[in-house]
């Protein structure tokens, strides 16, 4: 981070206190205290989230939007309260723009099937980047197959940064939609999303930002960003699995047909014709993940309680420290060295396959992710089958980095 005047710097995170909020961190793994460095895959949950879900299940559960009885109203209030909580967190204009989904993947598929597929024609183009997660590649490939549209890919450089000028050159009047990650899960790169949105809009394209790895780490202000769609998952920001959010600009959502049909998403149904419910319910067919929404709202409260600037500063310090320590180890090669990164450290060790590294680190209680990180094209670009990835969250501390380094030395010993 750039040096800021002291009065603007967030007060440092009290990590010991934060760690006490996450009961799972007391777990022993293979006789060692758990060192959890896999939050980019899924973060852990703090007590306030666990308790909010439990309180909902204990006292407030019923189906939403369909009963006059007290519990149904309590459940509806909790569910709609969570929607408002999300709106406030990402600074969307209206709750009509906040659609609950199963996660980022479902949110992107919703846009692909309901926005892109009915509109795109043969020769139209969808533009993504070379560092996308499979969730921001495959849904567009399905649209291309169905419509004859063409998928274009903006390149990255060896540091794992988007080649912005090449991206701009790929924008054309044929570009109907741009889909980009806010933060790369495989490389940690933070993309210049504001400039991406502006360039895409100037070319007349609609923009979806995959914010799965961004919302837990960066302040996301959707009104300032101006993206047309923005997707993220609760389980990467200390909330439950099975719930996520699609933000969509209201005018676009209004014009889109429903994606799935069923209960809740209709106004009237007859065998001749049904009419659709208003936003956001038009896109929420069936009984939703109510307890998940409650947990998500509690997770956002938790993050706001700690303060995103404090979380970001803490994670940034850990990332810098870990980067320096790993660079000092022999035979470690970092994968993803962008100037602007968040919370992700991908690497390989010479002569040791990432899968073996994962097993050796696990034996020491250190949980990292190994593999292609659902970003096979990124692995192909760097000419490697896989990487090992350590990722940081608010509850990690310097002892976690020390444990990682120690376990990496152990791997070196085992493999000689």
């Amino acid at each position: 981070m750039a040096a800021e005047p002291a009065h603007l710097r967030p007060p440092p995170l009290d990590v010991a206190r934060v760690r006490a909020d996450f009961p799972i961190l007391a777990t022993q793994v293979h006789g060692h205290p758990l060192v959890y460095l896999d939050s980019a895959a899924s973060s852990q949950r703090p007590w306030p989230v666990i308790r909010a879900v439990e309180a909902y299940e204990t006292h407030s559960h019923a189906n939403v939007h369909r009963g006059v009885h007290a519990l149904s109203q309590a459940a509806t209030a909790a569910f709609e309260g969570a929607r408002e909580r999300v709106r406030r967190f990402v600074n969307a204009q209206s709750v009509r723009e906040i659609i609950f989904t199963r996660g980022t993947t479902e949110a992107i598929n919703l846009v692909a099937q309901s926005y892109a597929r009915p509109r795109l024609r043969a020769g139209d183009e969808i533009l993504i980047s070379a560092l996308e997660h499979h969730a921001d590649i495959v849904p567009w490939q399905l649209v291309c197959e169905a419509t004859g549209a063409v998928l274009k890919v903006a390149p990255i450089n060896r540091r794992g940064e988007l080649e912005f000028e090449a991206f701009e050159r790929l924008l054309s009047p044929r570009t109907r939609l741009v889909g980009m990650a806010h933060v790369s899960n495989a490389l940690g790169t933070v993309l210049p999303v504001k400039r991406i949105v502006e360039a895409a809009h100037a070319a007349g394209a609609v923009v979806l930002i995959d914010g799965a790895q961004a919302v837990p780490h960066l302040n996301v202000d959707l009104r300032a960003l101006g993206a047309d769609f923005y997707a993220f998952s609760a389980h990467k920001l200390y909330g439950p699995t099975g719930i996520g959010v699609l933000y969509g600009r209201e005018a676009l959502l209004e014009a889109m047909p429903p994606w799935q049909g069923g209960g809740d998403m209709i106004r009237t149904v007859s065998f001749e014709k049904s009419t659709w419910n208003e936003l956001p319910y038009k896109f929420e067919a069936g009984t939703p993940n109510i307890s998940g929404a409650v947990g998500l709202a509690a997770a956002l409260d938790y993050i706001e309680g700690l303060g995103l600037p404090a979380i970001a500063a803490h994670e940034d310090a850990l990332l810098k420290r870990a980067t320096a320590e790993l660079q000092a180890l022999p035979d470690i090669e970092l994968v993803g060295t962008a100037a602007h990164k968040a919370s992700v450290l991908s690497f390989t060790m010479k002569g040791v396959h990432p899968h073996d590294l994962g097993t050796i680190l696990d034996a020491e209680g250190v949980a990292i992710r190994t593999g292609h990180h659902c970003a096979m094209p990124v692995m192909t670009f760097f000419g490697i089958p896989a990487t090992a990835r350590a990722s940081f969250a608010c509850y990690n501390d310097e002892a976690d980095i020390a444990a990682l380094v120690k376990a990496l030395r152990r791997a070196r010993e085992v493999f000689g």
């Binding site: 990432p354 899968h355 097993t359 050796i360 096979m376 089958p385 000689g416």
Partner: protein, 147 residues
Amino acid sequence: MDLKDLYRDVILDHNKHPRNFGVLEGSDAHADGHNPLCGDRLTVSLRLTGDRISDIRFEGKGCAISTASASLMTEAVKGKDRAAVQALFERVHALLTDDAATADPALGKLAALSGVREFPARVKCASLCWHTLNAALESGDATVSTE
């Protein structure tokens, strides 16, 4: 859980210096194996004399377990006929998955893989080469995946 059980010297040696590594020119059968979970890929190619594997090579990129297992496999099956290979595969499978499996002298050096069963996430790494060999023997030209 002891890492030394998994990464025995034999395994580390075969990982570092895989035997029968490369492509067999003019092979009679070959197959590609893929473990999408870890990105491992390997190709097994072999020459048959009658029913017997007279030569075999493997090639690919994989973790230590998958590389060593393939290397050990090529040594173990060279010169064997289909029935003997099948019988050996079954013994290896038991070794990798059956906690009750006892020392089986017929396995020879392959017994070094016995530590794998303590690491369930790694069983597929060790068995990929055998499934690939099977596919090559069955169809002469195939692709298999562990997922």
